[in-house]
């Protein structure tokens, strides 16, 4: 008979890539209960976004997360352009989709690399990171920024992608496709990966539906909450989208869903590049000043549905609420690790692909300096 004891992991731990404190209550090596202790990356972006010009708010929203910068941009723009009645031309709509899908590819490849590292397969980690680096080069070429792309404005984009840009994108994708197919085969057939992932971190379809899970975690349980399919927006209205679904609901299914989504995104980028109207340019900024209104909108981030609520009063944001996909999936995290062996915890947690800083709505960069608010300053609503 084992006695239940507390096994802490984090907030700083080699198996965690972001600050998260896992309190595991274990009997022997079996996890009986788990508490996910958060708040180590919380800086209160929502509070900071209040009372800002809409353009300034967009600047901050783009910096909520460093992995899915474009999906926050798209959710915010979809919302404000929606209630302000701003029509965007096909070129802008498709340019945004190209960046968003490249972002999904790089996010999933980063995730796959880290997942392989957790499984002890560091060579695959390096392979995935090598291919991901080429996607970052594409961001550099298209937007000028490798991480926070910051390529879009209300009703328009900052740059017009040239024919040479698009050719470079397609050639790069051709170059990495063969390698990615090989890695996908390895992941599917490797004994270590199968042994450590199949049946681990199981989430049933019923639970996924009850708790409203989103993104690849839901799609691995055969629930399609893909915003691109359910309510197509911007360039997705013009493209044929293939949702990747699996039924198993375990860590292995989530791995394969994400890897297959890399190929689906590659296809979407190709479709978007083909459909961009030739010899067109993005409209001049500003297209429209937004004075009043409120609305909601969502975009499909690499981790799932990213929801924004925006209210603008007298040209300034009165309230911006961001519901990131990890916040929606968070409620299932303790359930997924219950009953697991303690050695499987890093693999199960990684398979859920948490984006902690995104969920806690973190960095606001102003004038080149990071501005950090303590909770006391947040509560008072002013910086000392």
């Amino acid at each position: 008979m084992h006695k239940t004891c507390l096994f802490p992991i984090g907030p700083q731990h080699p198996s965690l890539k972001e600050p998260l404190f896992l309190k595991l209550y274990v009997e022997g090596t079996t996890v009986k209960d788990a508490i996910f202790d958060l708040g180590y990356a919380h800086r209160g972006v929502e509070e900071k976004l209040e009372g800002k010009q809409v353009d300034t708010a967009l600047h901050a929203v783009q910096r909520t997360c460093c992995i899915c910068s474009q999906c926050h941009t798209m959710a915010f723009l979809r919302t404000v352009e929606g209630f302000a009645g701003v029509e965007i031309p096909d070129r802008v709509a498709l340019q945004r989709v190209i960046v968003a899908e490249l972002e999904r590819m790089h996010s999933h490849m980063l995730w796959a690399g880290v997942m392989m590292h957790e499984l002890g397969l560091d060579t695959l980690f390096m392979y995935f990171m090598r291919e991901r680096e080429k996607i970052l080069d594409l961001f550099d070429e298209l937007t000028g920024n490798r991480v926070h792309h910051s390529s879009d404005l209300i009703g328009t984009s900052k740059r017009t992608f040239t024919e040479e840009n698009l050719e470079f994108v397609l050639n790069t994708l051709d170059g990495i496709k063969e390698n990615l197919i090989r890695y996908r085969k390895t992941v599917d057939s490797h004994d270590v990966i199968r042994d450590r992932c199949i049946g681990k971190g199981l989430i049933t379809k019923k639970d996924a539906k009850t708790f409203g899970l989103v993104g690849p975690v839901a799609r691995a349980c055969n629930i399609n909450n893909d915003v691109r399919v359910a309510s197509p927006y911007m360039g997705y209205k013009m493209l044929k989208i293939k949702s990747i679904m699996r039924k198993e609901g375990d860590a292995h299914a989530r791995t394969l869903v994400r890897l297959d989504e890399v190929f689906a995104s590659m296809d979407l980028v190709r479709q978007a590049c083909d459909q961009i109207p030739k010899n067109s340019k993005v409209p001049k900024y500003p297209v429209k000043r937004i004075a009043q209104g409120y609305g909601v909108g969502a975009s499909e981030a690499p981790r799932g549905e990213n929801f924004h609520f925006v209210k603008v009063v007298n040209g300034k944001t009165a309230r911006v609420k961001l519901r990131t996909p990890t916040l929606a999936n968070l409620i299932m995290f303790p359930e997924a690790v219950k009953g697991a062996d303690i050695t499987d915890i890093p693999v199960i947690v990684m398979s859920l692909d948490p984006c902690i800083s995104c969920m806690e709505r973190v960095a606001v960069v102003k004038d080149g300096k990071t501005e950090v608010w303590t909770s006391h300053e947040l509560f008072k609503g002013e910086k000392k």
Binding site: G39, H42, F211, F309, R319, I331, S375
Partner: protein, 94 residues
């Protein structure tokens, strides 16, 4: 305590997406957004006035737990019946 649960019975088959606390000129509101098979989100707007306690909807939508807990933490509105209500989620320990 503000009783709101009866208004949410008809949303049982929908997926709760978000709960947003919004202070407006004409009062304090909580917006509930739901997704269903239609492309647009369904919205329920509840005026809470000066109430500091609002009925929790976790019995209908279990995923409301963290969303309500976050509002409790940030805006001091309590949701009796919510397992996360009153727990620290994002802010530092006092």
């Amino acid at each position: 305590m503000k009783k709101i649960l009866s208004q949410f019975r008809k949303t049982k088959s929908d997926r709760l997406v978000s709960i947003s606390y919004v202070k407006e000129e004409d009062g304090v509101f909580i917006y509930y957004h739901f997704a269903n098979k239609t492309p647009k989100f369904k919205e329920l707007k509840i005026e809470i006035g000066d109430e500091k306690e609002v009925e929790s909807i976790t019995s209908i939508h279990p995923n409301a737990a963290i969303l309500e807990g976050e509002i409790t933490e940030m805006y001091k509105i309590k949701f009796p019946g919510n397992p996360y209500s009153g727990q620290r989620i994002f802010l530092e320990e006092k």
